[in-house]
Amino acid sequence: MHSFRFSAEPLPPEAEAARASVRAFLDAERAAGHFVPHRTSWTTFDAAFSRRAGAAGLIGLTLPEAYGGHGRSGLVRFVVTEEMLAAGAPCGAHWIADRQSGPQILRHGTEAAKRAILPRICRGDCAFGIGMSEPNSGSDLAAVRTRAVRDGDDWVINGSKIWTTNAHQVDYLLALVRTGEPGPDRHGGLTQFIVDMAAPGVTVRPILDLSGHHEFNEVFFTDYRVPDAMRVGAEGAGWGLVTEELAFERSGPDRFLSDYRLLVELVDRIGPEPDRFQAVETGRMVAQLTALLGMSASVARLLDQGVVPGVEAALVKDVGNGFERAVPEIARRLVPVEPSLTVQGDAFREALGGVTLRAPSFTLRGGTREVLRGVIARGLGLR
């Protein structure tokens, strides 16, 4: 009998205790008009918001105090994360650094990189991007062709990356590049580097998404020099590192709370006396979401115990993405409106418009649904 390692244990008291402080911070931010929940999402880049969150001690929670962090458990971070998502806070300027690049540098970076970068991440003053995808290497990440060649104490990088979220605004990219031959399993010869976006030899070309938003980019490297001290992990160890990183990227509540604010607006728009159709469908979504919150907290607990729950994380993302793809489709059936990004003063129509245009990305970013189902199938012993 196959069984998954989920459990219904509540989060520990120290994690629940963190909830009040993050809520107080978010209430103050909203009251000051720093963000409008239904207009922003966690990917919205707002450097000033991230600096205030850093000052409030809400970033780098799991990083050690020696590097400016707070030395708290992953479950405290989990609570802060889900509260940010539920509030619709614009976390894009610190999200990736806090979720994956910072922890990755802590585990595998050089001392010099840790000292230079981690304290800035904790202050909310250092944004990271993920440089994995390339034009011919999306789902098939092993096909990465951007190459780094050793030159004295430096490496020289040539090639390009694509779909790089916020590359035009971040300070650094954690880039996966080829330093050797792939080998028989195709997973060899890849290495990760911290590339400084301010150094010469890098150009960024904007790509507009469906809503006309400039969020992701194409990045070109031309004889771009990066010191060996900015290598993360051993030469050729990149594949192991990115798969480890993806376990963190895939299991969080950001994988099913992207359109949480639409659900809130929907409930308010329906009002206190739903008809049966509205009540049933709203209840169905809430039951699904409750299950996901339980699954996601379980995975956070496992990660906190040092277990890398590959299948469970993939299940959270697959089921979670299915949920977040469905929310706008259900919402439009429950309340007949015409969605629009430019209508002002109708939060529901705006939220529906925004989410409808963003939703196709939910089952792509962080690994497509099809790739995730392959990961789950492997975990079930099918491949």
């Binding site: 196959h2 998954f4 909830r19 329906i270 006396e273 009540a279 409750t290 299950a291 089921v319 189902r373």
Partner: protein, 374 residues
């Protein structure tokens, strides 16, 4: 004993009880017995020997506290016990008895180890004072094994509309018997004119009942959700095994991407249903019980249809036969999801509660449901 010692001793007892159930089910539930109990083929037999063995082990009182004569399992372990019954397609109301006896004990009643069934709340029974205690008016419909069990629990209302939890022993006249899709008997009994002693009429504990949701219905839904998890596991497990054994086009089905994706999708439903049922298990005798049960019944009910469909698709024609055991799980899933309130009914209740609270109250509610402070 320190707290940890106590918890460890408790864990050991839990493990022993679960092993015991597993052993008894494996020993007794032969294909011949399962076929004899399958009412789709005629009358459903009541496997008295198996009930006697289960009662001998004290299992009917598994969830009743030790101080009241039970085994005192945690609700989380009792839920595991019920899931094992669901996995094995046990054709007896042990799950109903385990939860019903604990509900009755929580209402201050004295629970015995006889089989006890739960009466779904579809048609309310009325109750009035009488020289011998109380007299009933109405009928109990769709009662699992209602014609075979020595006692029933039901929700009734008095003339003032006040709800009561009532135990009816030797329930008597069968009006009608049909079988659910899995061939389990669902009986209708005429209760009009029956009297019950005052001791068998009680007030249900507050956690088990909420406005508009009678306690027996919510406990019945809780039981069905846990059983569904078991049947979902059986269905997924069988599909995984079959996909690895069955060869087509010179390789196992499991090697085809379409099959892998179907199984991954089914696994997602099983995982989500389990998470919801786990939460409900953790909320037994807690103020969150009814809402957590609503979520579990809704989510398991939704998973049931998807997982059964995928299970059958993967088993091909072989799974569409009485010879293959898959139907023991899928026919139960198709029945259980509609008993003690369909998934749509429970979704509607959740939806009404959420809309009444407004958007801002939703997040604190979700946090509370998972055991946080909201």
């Amino acid at each position: 004993m320190s707290r940890t010692d106590h918890a460890e001793a408790g864990d050991a007892v839990d493990g022993i009880v679960l092993d015991q159930v597993e052993r008894l089910l494996a020993q007794h539930l032969t294909p011949a017995l399962l076929a004899a109990c399958d009412g789709a083929a005629g009358a459903a037999a009541w496997p008295a020997d198996l009930w006697a063995a289960l009662a001998e082990s004290g299992l009917p009182l598994a969830l009743v506290p030790e101080a009241e004569g039970g085994i005192g399992l945690t609700a989380t372990t009792a839920a595991q016990l019920i899931r094992r019954c669901g996995r094995a397609a046990l054709p007896l109301p042990l799950p109903e008895t385990v939860a019903g006896a604990a509900l009755w004990a929580a209402a201050g009643g004295q629970a015995g180890d006889d089989a006890l069934s739960l009466v779904p709340g579809g048609s309310p029974v009325r109750i009035a004072p009488h020289a011998d205690g109380f007299v009933l008016d109405g009928r109990a419909a769709q009662v699992p094994w209602g014609g075979s069990v020595p006692a029933l629990l039901l929700d009734a209302v008095d003339a003032a509309g006040v709800p009561h939890l009532v135990r009816v022993t030797a329930p008597g006249t069968l009006r009608d018997t049909h079988h659910d899709l899995a061939g389990e008997p669902r009986d209708t009994l005429d209760l009009t004119g029956r009297t019950v002693p005052a001791d068998d009429v009680r007030t249900a504990p507050g956690w088990a009942a909420e406005a508009g949701v009678p306690s027996v219905d919510s406990v019945g839904a809780w039981v069905r959700a846990q059983q569904m998890v078991g049947a979902l596991e059986t269905c997924l497990g069988s599909a995984l095994d079959h996909a690895q054994e069955r060869q087509q086009f010179g390789r196992p089905l499991a090697k085809f991407q379409a099959i892998q994706h179907m199984l991954a999708e089914a696994a997602g439903h099983v995982a989500a249903a389990t998470a919801a049922a786990d939460l409900a298990a953790a909320c037994w005798s807690d103020p969150r019980f009814v809402l957590a049960t609503a979520v579990a019944k809704a989510r398991c009910g939704e998973a049931a249809g998807h997982v059964a469909a995928i299970g059958h698709q993967i088993h091909g024609a072989m799974g569409f036969t009485q010879e293959h055991p898959l139907h023991r799980a899928t026919r139960r899933l198709w029945s259980w999801r509609d008993e003690f309130g369909s998934d749509a009914l429970w979704q509607e209740r959740i939806g009404r509660a959420v809309c009444a609270g407004g958007g801002a109250a939703l997040w604190p509610m979700l946090v509370r449901l998972r055991g946080g402070a909201g």
